[in-house]
Symmetry: C2
Subunit: 204 residues, 2 copies
């Protein structure tokens, strides 16, 4: 890691805390600069605005998740357990994403197209992780399925659809603060679905 990477890591980590506490709309470049003991000019050298920092923080969360889940998968013995781990860690990532995204209506519309491109790229990563898990399950004779890719895409689309459906009343209005009971309902459904899905794939 060179000095620039070091600075960037510092900025991202400080911004992550600030976004998590105050959200994007209530955070300023001045505050981030102060947090990392940097002049405003130096901060602007690395990021042109707080929206770019916000996206970089989100991308970092996604990469951390991918790395973590790859390790977890390596350590597990059954594909069944891997898929369950996936669901649990994905929900934890969701909580972090929600915490970062305390966006107000105005900001939401600004960053929405950028977030969408992040989401689409991440979806491909997610489908490829699930595809790997399902392939392992087939190799180990845990699952009896043919078109592994369709199953992986369906799994991810259902998890995303459940989130979208559960949160739609909130996110439509640009409110990203999801009440705890709504999150818990989603968690319950997400886990029940994973259990049914696994049973539906099983070899007996």
């Amino acid at each position: 890691m060179n000095q620039g990477d070091d600075k960037i890591a510092l900025i991202l980590s400080a911004s992550q805390k600030r976004f998590g506490r105050y959200g994007l709309s209530k955070t300023t470049m001045n505050e981030i600069a102060a947090d990392v003991n940097m002049s405003k000019a130096s901060l602007y050298y690395y990021f042109k605005d707080k929206e770019s920092i916000f996206l970089a923080v989100n991308a970092k969360e996604q990469n951390d998740f991918t790395e973590k889940i790859r390790q977890v998968i390596q350590a597990e013995r059954t594909a069944k357990k891997m898929l369950f781990d996936y669901t649990v860690y994905r929900l934890k990532l969701l909580q972090k994403q929600l915490s970062l995204a305390k966006l107000n209506n105005e900001n939401y519309h600004e960053v929405k197209p950028l977030i969408h491109s992040l989401i689409n790229t991440f979806k491909k990563t997610e489908v490829s992780i699930i595809t790997d898990i399902l392939k392992k399950g087939v190799e180990r004779k845990e699952f009896k399925i043919r078109d592994v890719n369709s199953y992986a895409e369906l799994f991810i689309d259902i998890q995303r659809g459940l989130r979208q459906h559960r949160f739609s009343g909130y996110i439509d209005k640009g409110i990203y603060v999801i009440p705890a009971r709504v999150y818990h309902k989603l968690k319950e459904q997400s886990e029940l679905f994973t259990a049914i899905f696994l049973k539906g794939l099983c070899n007996n």
Copy 2:
């Protein structure tokens, strides 16, 4: 059926054809009145505006579906087949709903709150139908599940979530004309999910 009901049935059936062909935004009360050989004043006696007719047409589609699916369920021998029938008929209803809803952006925002209340009521009906199917499956020892209601709600939420996820790029922009390939992808996923769900519930 009294004469008023007769007239209403006539108005709804004519409007249904017109909405299906031209959408809400391109239909006028004048045209509907002409279609049913009625003066504009008489039409306004039954419905205050075209949006009210639109909602009544949608409500009628939902009731027709509920009636039809109850008949189909009566005729089927296995709960498994009932759930599959449900998925197939629900997709047909969706096609009708999409065809009626050629809304432009402006109209969409007008009728959205009204449509949402229709959607929420209909969701309860859907969950109760699926609950009945699952209960029959448990009685007949096809399924081995305890909390039938959670499974029924999850089934409906997943089907709704899949639709929402698949259509979000279009409906966000108020465009209700869904390309055929997008509909077919949804149909594929909806049916594959039903198959996995059924296998996940089975008793062996």
